[in-house]
Amino acid sequence: MNKVQNNKAWLLVLPVFLLVAFSAIIPLMTVVNYSVQDIFDQNNAYFVGLEWYQEVMSVPRLQDSLARQFFYSGTVLLIEVPLGICVALMMPTRGWTASLSLIVLALPLLIPWNVVGTIWQIFARSDIGLLGYVINGIGIDYNYTNNSVDAWFTVLLMDVWHWTSLIALLCYSGLRAIPDAYYQAARIDRASSWAIFRYIQLPKLQGVLIIGVLLRFMDSFMIYTEPFVLTGGGPGNSTTFLSQTLTKMAIGQFDIGPAAAFSIIYFLIVLLVSWLFFTTITHLDKDKVKEQSHD
């Protein structure tokens, strides 16, 4: 009841508010501003409300690339997460081989995105690229510039090459953090290797895997540079993902309004999926606590 009213304290939050405003809120608001107007030139802009939003949701080109995007990100996660865990499990734990494998794994992560695209652009070429040449050499007709399936798989393979290391390194650090006593106890309990993995290693990796999956989802959902350099989105639209469609719309065609509306939707999708994933996982832990307090 005797709560002291002192609103001056809000002033202390002001510096942070300004910082956040410039770094996030103001740029974002610009996009929001565009998304609700139809702009012809500097002097002719009309407020259109949510029309752009309604319109972009019904454009087949965007729907297609959204579907492609979800399929692609899902596939990336399905491959990279189990593969990363396997690599981490097989890595040596001590000696010079451990250092060597850490360096080798870290290498792809250090290469800039557009360089990765360029590397694969050449690497996968069927005339002079090692990969493309070998695949053709063993009798499979492969050409990522002509065949949309080939292109899609090449982009996927490139992502796996580029980012599996991230999951592997995260899991490796997670595995190193498990005390030896757990393995010793499991041996005494006569647990099989599968049981050790299922009941010791996997639960202990939960924390790093949440981070890994979130990072890989967000990054792969926003993928732009590598397919842009490698295939330019083609052939056809087979490797045109959301961000590229968006760029074409905003910069290529100068449809600022719809592009802004779609940017917002895009942003909200990333936010929503990440939030859903994160709360589901943390909710599982909360349930355990609740279950306890009822007992």
Binding site: A185, I188, Y199
Partner: protein
Amino acid sequence: MAEIHLKGLAHSYSDNPQSSADYAIHEMEHVWHQGGAYALLGPSGCGKSTLLNIISGLIKPSHGSVLFDGVEVNEIATQDRNIAQVFQFPVIYDSMTVYDNLAFPLRNMKVDKDKIDSKVKEVAHTLDLTDILHRRASNLSADAKQKISMGRGLVRDDVSAILFDEPLTVIDPNLKWKLRRQLKQIHERYNITMVYVTHDQLEASTFADKIALMYQGKIVQFGTPRELFENPNHTFVGYFIGSPGMNFLSVEKLASGNGTEFCFDGIALPLDSNQKKILNDSSSSNLKVGIRPEFIQLSAVQHPESLPCEVIHTEDLGTYKIVTVLLGQQKLKIRLGEEQQAPQKTAFATFPSQWLKIYIDEYLVDTNSGDAGDE
């Protein structure tokens, strides 16, 4: 059920041990009898955990062998040795319930469901875990987790020994006492050989019938808590057991009017003739006389046998007092009961000769028979 025999056992972590310093465990002969409750006591780094891990098979000894009921198990893997081990930090399977944790070893052995159920419930009952049987194990308190790790050992019918590696380290002090009692009850009920590693003498003496005291990779004494207290057969045992540890005085031979005396700082100790004879016969220059702080009598008035000393300070610990006195150049600790008055400044200390122990080259000499050590 098993008797564990350590035969000529020694262990070195280095591949090519040169000197005795390379050995974590020095060659030893030792038997843990079936059904006994033993403590393996010693300071950090004395090799007690190494020894325990050798018994459980987590470490392979570099020399000698481990025998379970007369059968050598050196080459038998941990999982086939029929032992259970409880570690310093509770090891539980986070994603499982308490029930599943307890059932886990049995499920790995493909025991049928009804048997698992009855066994798990029985063990849960013994360990007071029945109420929390269907809760997740991950959010329980440390003592409950430690009980679960022990329970995983108890559910198996074939377990012949349970090894504890400082299991109460992470337990709250008030629960330690309770858990120690529970351990003792379990021991009585299941008739399993138990070996308990600790650096806490109180834990060791409440849990174990017999204590093996380890020092620098050797078992220096194996006996009941009382034996270790009254007849420490190495100066280290005297120093390590008891609170405070034993007083040791380095003595040297001095000729005097009525025969040879054994003195420190020019003060002669009231040794009996047998003790003097033993000291006299020894050629070693490392002669020590030890006495427990509990057995020195301290008084403000002089007695015929007593020696004058100076009181430096008194610590009152509630149930007893520790008085530090200066006798010659030597500081001695004396333990007095709470009802006893500690003298100020000058006091007189009496040393009953039956509690004066003779140590030659750090080992006890039995003054009754003249042999070294007890057992």
